[in-house]
Symmetry: C2
């Protein structure tokens, strides 16, 4: 039914707006439709607040009786921070529920739909499934694998450099590409860089022009020494601030001057990063936006821990400089990392290639 | 007038089809229109053959009387290999001439239009000027600067490599991107690679699926030693085959086993390449399609001799390998080469960035 598609698109738009402020919950949109008219709409509120269905139902009030509910994710049927949505839907008198994608949470997994059907509600699933899945790809991944989703972003010249030989990188890409990076940061639970980048660029790692939301800031370091003059140190009170230290006696978290120090307890680079993505998941930082530099970007790639790549290219050639990616050992053509699901986007004379890396480990780490 | 645009677009299409088979002449299209109907059309014939106007007028015959002539370049008024087109237009009884772009040839330069006007023909210029200029950008450049136009093509991974550490490059890009490379080769007078690429890949440098047209083949070498087992050597009878040797006692051309050896007479890398583009122009090879490898690509870029870049990116990451571009000294962010007039094109999961490099030499070569 065309109307179904129309209302689900509306629900997806609501979910998109909520994206980035619901961690570790997925961003969901819901719309209540009675006699062809929207009588209530909502999106997931920040963690601890109500789910999208509850918001939409509350707004619909008595109008929910006999109405249809469009929701971008299967309603939950378990007690988490909030009571199960299924019970509220049943109580509201909703007659029909249309949802996009099944909840991958093993605590739900089709049980929500089942519970609704058992209570005489007509249920259908799959509408705009692909879009709804992609919007919460980080959530689906992290809850299934019990580790944080990692997006790696690099801004490179056409010859693959992230800085000139003197270390300068201002600016490889233009204003509109950099603006979009802030939008990407907003959609992640944390923004991360290596200590080398901290020292070279002293980045703010903030979301500009978006008041009221700050992703956590993460610095990867081989020690726990952070310059007290850095923006990161001076502004650590503004948002959750973490220094990830490879090594230490065991995997543990210590707090000092308002900064969390996460010791992975492992000195091997790859094992340490693997430990980190698990710690981040446990700490409710379910998606990480990693912005380089070379060492940490290459480390995550070599560990096979990058879920999505965002490669921005400025239309410049340096001829030499700092490579964006540099492995301890180059891959062969047969073993190289391939990107799938490629999308291109143009920003003035810059462009963005986004895709999902496929790792062919062949028994050894790349 | 809308009809004018329609007919000029038709003329431009004819020119596009002729592109690549008219060197050192530009590719031109012409259409004769009488009472709203096309009564004759033509494009530049291969070198020594008639110009587009002559072909179109011959086809129109008596119908040219009182008709309009649409032509993508100002008609010539000088004797070259063929008699001047202006005289044939005047004799044919054409009443109106519409052309896209003024001939940059100093022998013509507006004189063609003037000659027509003096003979009572209504003349207008500038329709589809941009497209017509771009189609023959190589011709306009070479005739103005008395040196060959150089297009540089590289096929790189997302991290800027043209081969893995073992030297393998098969295949960084997919079938459809490689197919398009053959189309680009077809539009140039010569296809060129460095001797390193000849030794590593033994390339054919042919235009596949296009019978009857073969661009010249050029190898850049620091000596005159070419493997007798190479495709280049074994197939030198098929098309004009040239080995460009930096050095030698003086700038001269020697022929041996069907191969031309062009000695630049200069050992300095940049000076030698500058000499080469002049020699190529004098030898009627007015546009060169340069396909790497690293040394020769970087040499032309450092010499500031690249007119257009075609950078193909396969959606792969190697982590290390052979850089596509590597200068003896990297540029700073302030001095880097910027690409303007950027165009993007998608080939499956590969993409092409094309643009015009702007060299900021700052008193020294990049």
């Amino acid at each position: 039914m065309d109307n179904d598609l129309y209302f689900m698109q509306k629900a997806l738009e609501l979910a998109r707006v909520a994206k980035g402020r619901t961690f570790p919950n997925p961003a969901v949109g819901a719309i209540v439709v009675s006699e062809g008219k929207i009588v209530g709409e909502g999106a997931t509120e920040p963690y601890g607040g109500p789910h999208a269905e509850k918001v939409a139902l509350a707004r619909a009030g008595e109008n929910a009786k006999g109405a249809s509910l469009y929701v971008t994710l299967e309603p939950c049927c378990h007690f988490g921070k909030t009571p199960p949505c299924t019970e509220q839907i049943i109580a509201s008198g909703i007659k029909r529920v249309i949802f996009s994608v099944k909840d991958p949470n093993p605590l739900v997994g089709g049980k929500g739909a089942q519970r609704l059907t058992q209570n005489g509600i007509e249920v259908s699933e799959g509408l705009l499934q692909e879009q709804a899945t992609e919007l919460n790809e980080d959530f689906f991944w992290s809850i299934t694998n019990k580790q944080a989703w990692v997006s790696l972003k690099l801004a490179m010249t056409l010859d693959g450099k992230i800085a000139d030989t003197a270390g300068s990188s201002k600016w490889i890409t233009g204003e509109s590409a950099r603006e979009y990076v802030h939008e990407l940061r907003r959609c992640h639970a944390a923004v991360a860089v290596g200590k080398g980048t901290l020292q070279a660029d002293d980045p703010q790692l903030t979301v500009r022009h978006k008041k009221g939301y700050s992703p956590a800031r993460i610095i990867f370091s081989s020690d726990n020494q952070i310059s007290q003059n850095s923006y990161f140190f001076l502004h650590s009170a503004e948002t959750r601030s973490i220094v990830v230290v490879s090594g230490g006696d065991s995997s543990e978290i210590k707090k000092e001057s308002g900064i969390e120090f996460w010791f992975t307890g492992l000195t091997d680079k790859i094992q340490s990063l693997q430990k980190f993505v698990q710690m981040a998941y446990q700490q409710n930082l379910t998606s990480i936006f990693l912005e380089g530099g070379q060492r940490i970007a290459s480390g995550f790639l070599q560990a096979g821990l990058v879920n999505r790549l965002y490669l921005f290219y400025g239309s410049k050639i340096l001829g030499d400089g700092k490579d964006g990616i540099s492995f301890s050992e180059g891959l062969s053509m047969d073993e190289c990392i391939n990107l799938t699901g490629i999308r291109q986007q143009v920003f003035g004379s810059d462009f963005l290639i986004s895709g999902v890396p496929q790792f062919k480990l062949h028994g050894k780490r790349p």
